[in-house]
């Protein structure tokens, strides 16, 4: 087990380096000059531009800039911003707790309700409740998240007045409930659909017949036998979804004015602050890689036949 984890962590290194390199190149090779952007619409002063470039190491060849960045990253240094010369890490430690909180709330929402609806529909396959869940999930999947956000902000925030339309205090969990529901809704629908298919497939398995024949109560059959065996595809989906949720938060945060990573990213994109963009995506990639490792370890918990030596 320990050796397996160590090997997986080692395998992550090339992927991590590759991903940071890719995003670094995407930010730096594509057109657009962040230093010139400091002057706004006015013509930039070439001498001053050269000084700023030299200070920030932007005059070096690209490969050297990347190596410097990677070296800094290993020491926990995400670089500094071009405008204001602030450490990127400071800005990220302000924004990430908000987004992670939002993401975790959305994740809990999708996990609990998605599994509930999925099991319900899978067990009652072909019944009215199954049809209801199927139609509901199809609807949720086809309505884009930003439309759902705009509509629910209007309906629950402005018209019904249940919540304030804009989040005023981004660290207040109560105010994040509606954004979290909107953020998690798409994944909820996918979790419900996956669970339903998986449950319906496993319901015909031999061990299910055995469990029924032994006279186990329905509740125990579903929760201990059926659900546990049906969870593997769902867990796989959830693993990749943690990263997707964090990225989806970018859109949701914009609608509800949550001061999280999304807002930081928008500002960075507008000012072409490459170091912030690369930093944010790097953290997302780390979250994604670790979540995938966690998923693989969970397989062994769910299915004892899977062992990691």
């Amino acid at each position: 087990m320990g050796r397996y984890v160590a090997r997986r962590l080692l395998q992550m290194i090339p992927v991590f380096i590759g991903t940071t390199l890719l995003i670094f190149l995407m930010v730096n090779v594509l057109p657009g000059d962040p230093v010139a952007a400091l002057w706004g619409d006015k013509p930039p002063d070439p001498a001053q531009m050269a000084i700023i470039r030299k200070d920030l190491g932007l005059d070096l060849p690209l490969w050297q800039q990347y190596l410097n960045y990677l070296g800094g990253l290993l020491q926990g240094d995400f670089g500094t911003t071009i405008a204001g010369n602030r450490p990127v890490l400071d800005q990220m430690t302000d924004a990430f707790p908000v987004s992670i909180r939002l993401g975790l709330m959305a994740f809990t929402f999708e996990l609990v309700l998605g599994l509930f609806f999925g099991v319900l529909a899978g067990v009652k396959r072909g019944k009215v409740i199954d049809t209801g869940v199927t139609v509901f999930t199809l609807m949720v999947i086809s309505i884009p998240v930003f439309v759902l956000g705009l509509v629910s902000q209007q309906v629950f925030g402005t018209q019904l007045g249940w919540v304030s339309p804009n989040v005023k205090d981004s660290m207040d969990m109560a105010q994040l409930v509606l954004p979290a529901i909107v953020l998690g809704s798409l994944s909820l629908a996918y979790v419900a659909r996956l669970t339903r298919t998986s449950i319906a497939e496993n319901a015909r398995a031999d061990y299910m017949r055995t469990a029924v024949a032994k006279g186990l109560p329905q509740r125990r059959i579903v929760s201990m036998h059926l659900l546990r065996n049906s969870l593997i595809p769902v867990v796989t989906y959830l693993g990749t979804d943690i990263g997707a949720l964090m990225a989806g938060a970018v859109v949701t945060e914009g609608i509800f004015n949550v001061q999280g990573v999304g807002q930081l990213l928008f500002e960075a994109l507008a000012r072409r602050e490459g170091s912030i963009i690369v930093g944010i995506v790097t953290v997302f990639v780390l979250i994604y890689l670790l979540a995938n490792l966690l998923v693989d370890l969970l397989y062994a918990v769910l299915d004892p036949r899977i062992r990691y030596a």
Partner: protein
């Protein structure tokens, strides 16, 4: 609901598959998987409904002038500012009302179809070709090729899709449909590559590949004439489902102001405009958002139907 009506004439999944095999309509001539799947699809209301809807959308995007004779960019602020829809005026310019610049929402919804369909189809075609080739090479040649291509796939897969597209598109000041298609395809080919790789690996050691090799067939002939037809089914399923995802991605990017420019007519851009006026004129949000959702729904239902027809587990 449509999926459920399906289940009714197909009570268990295994039985009809046996029935088809035993009492197939052409017992003397065995049908190919594709023909079999097609016959299967034609009996499904889900497929017929989504297919008709998609044909209609393709028609609208190819010939928007047939459906609306109004110019979607011509506005008359003084006369039509945020006018409410007149739903009884079917197919008239004021049918869906007017937006904040006095432009006919009906005309804009009709002309906006082209962008969504073009992006959805364009990205899917690009992604299937690029991802398919990558997956085939990795799966067939194995060894160092597989390691290299799989790691490259991992790298691209790790970058969040919308976020990556935002970064790429932000660098372009003049964005057209093709820029958006390129950016989405650049980041989106990984899912197809992974599926294709898996399918090719299972097909690689089949007896018919060995037979083709023994007969002296070249690598490209083996790959494209023997392996590809047997590995394409899961790729088609993923591609169909992803098509809807790309349409949503385009509209999200246009909504964020990182997709098409404001002078292009697109549903995402119109939803962005509508979000400022949602309080006093919800109709300017409703129609583009509704069309967008219906389009995505059509492609998701198509994907579901295709998966049920092609999935060997359900046969």
């Amino acid at each position: 609901m449509p999926e459920n009506t399906l289940k009714k004439d197909k009570p268990t999944v295994e039985e009809p598959a046996v029935a088809v095999a035993e009492a197939g309509p052409a017992p003397d001539k065995p049908r190919s998987l594709a023909a079999d799947a097609w016959a299967d699809l034609c009996r499904k209301p889900l497929f017929l409904l989504s297919g008709l809807l998609i044909l209609f959308l393709l028609l609208v995007s190819a010939f928007p002038g047939l459906f609306s004779s109004t110019d979607p960019t011509a506005g008359d602020l003084s006369k039509h500012f945020l006018t409410k829809p007149e739903l009884s005026h079917v197919f008239q310019p004021d049918w869906f009302g007017y937006d904040n610049q006095g432009r006919s929402i009906y005309a804009r919804v009709v002309y906006g179809t082209r962008v969504s369909i073009l992006v959805g189809v364009g990205v899917t075609v690009l992604v299937t070709v690029v991802g398919g080739l990558m997956g085939m090479l990795a799966g067939y040649f194995g060894g160092i090729w597989d390691t290299l291509l799989s790691r490259i796939t991992d790298v691209f897969f790790g970058i969040p899709f919308i976020l990556g597209a935002m970064v790429v598109l932000n660098a372009f000041t003049e964005r057209t449909v093709w820029t958006v298609i390129g950016a989405l395809a650049f980041l989106g080919w990984t899912a197809i590559a992974r599926v294709m790789r898996g399918a090719v690996i299972t097909a690689r050691h089949a007896d018919y590949v060995l037979a083709a090799k023994a007969l002296g067939a070249g690598t490209s002939r083996i790959l494209f004439r023997h392996i590809l037809p047997n590995a394409i089914a899961p790729v088609i399923v993923v591609a169909t489902i992803q098509l809807g995802v790309y349409i949503v991605a385009e509209s999200t990017l246009s909504y964020l102001g990182l997709g098409l420019g404001t002078n292009e007519v697109s549903w995402g851009g119109d939803i962005d405009t509508a979000s400022d006026h949602i309080r006093n004129a919800p109709h300017i949000l409703f129609f583009p958002a509704g069309m967008l959702s219906i389009t995505v729904l059509a492609f998701i239902m198509l994907g579901d139907a295709v998966r049920e027809a092609l999935d060997p587990k359900l046969r």
